[in-house]
Symmetry: C2
Subunit: 134 residues, 2 copies
C-alpha cells in the first residue's frame, strides 16, 4: 500500500523537470528519453495534466508541453487527487453496498480524521517546496 502511486510520482518528476529545463515546450518523446519513463505511459500522464490545466500543449510538428501553472501553485494533494481517485482511504468493509454502521463506526471516524490530516499535510506541500528543499 503506497500513499503516492506511480502516476503521481511521475507527474511530480515531469513538472520538476520541465521547470528546471525552462524551455518553451518539451515533447513527450523528449521526456520519455530523458527521464527514462515508458513513452505511452508518460503520454497518458501528460494528457491528464493538460486536461487538468496544469500543462498547456502545442499540437503538431515541434509541439509539446509546457507549464501552465507555477510550481508554487501546484500542491501534492492536487496531483494525488487527480491520479489517485481523490485519495479515499476511508475504511469500510462493505465497499459498494450500504453499510449499516456507517454513522456509528468508530474506526471509520478515526480513519477519516487521519485522512484529513494527510490531506492538510500534502495540501501545504507544493512542487516548489520539493524543488527548493532538494
Amino acid at each position: 500500500m503506497l500513499l503516492i502511486n506511480r502516476d503521481t510520482d511521475y507527474a511530480i518528476r515531469v513538472i520538476v523537470y520541465m521547470f528546471k529545463m525552462d524551455e518553451k515546450t518539451i515533447s513527450a518523446r523528449d521526456i520519455s528519453d530523458r527521464l527514462d519513463i515508458p513513452y505511452p505511459f508518460i503520454r497518458k500522464i501528460l494528457q491528464t495534466l493538460s486536461k487538468e490545466n496544469i500543462l498547456k500543449t502545442r499540437r503538431g510538428r515541434g509541439g509539446g508541453f509546457s507549464l501552465k501553472k507555477l510550481p508554487e501553485d501546484i500542491t501534492t494533494i492536487q496531483l494525488v487527487k487527480i491520479f489517485q481517485d481523490d485519495m479515499d482511504i476511508t475504511h469500510c468493509i462493505f465497499k459498494d453496498n450500504i453499510c449499516p454502521d456507517i454513522d456509528s463506526c468508530i474506526l471509520r471516524k478515526e480513519v477519516k480524521s487521519i485522512e484529513k490530516f494527510i490531506k492538510e499535510r500534502l495540501g501545504n506541500l507544493t512542487v516548489e517546496d520539493l524543488i527548493r528543499k532538494q
Copy 2:
C-alpha cells in the same frame, strides 16, 4: 487505497465479538455463521491471530478460540502490522531496486513523517476504545 484492509477489519470484529460474548471458547464455524464471514477466510484470520498470541486455541472436538489478550492491550496498529505487511506506505518509485535518491528524496521524507503520525494514532487506539466508544 484503503488504510485498513479486510483482514484487519475482520480481525477487529472477531475480537470485539469474542469479548462481548464472554464465552470460554468459540469455534471458527460459530464466528463464520454469526458474523457472516466466509468460513475458510475467517479460519485463516483466526489462525494468524493465535500465532500472534492474541488468541489461544483448544484443538479437537468442542475446541475453538478464546481471547488471550485483553481488548485494552490490543492496539489497532498491532493488527494492521500483522495483516498489512507492517503498513509500509513509504513512497518510492523504484520498488525493489535501490533508489539513487533514497536519502535526499523530499517526498519520501514527507511520506515517512505522515506514516509516523498514522502509526502513533493507531498505536493509541485499542480495541477496547472501539468497543467503549460505540
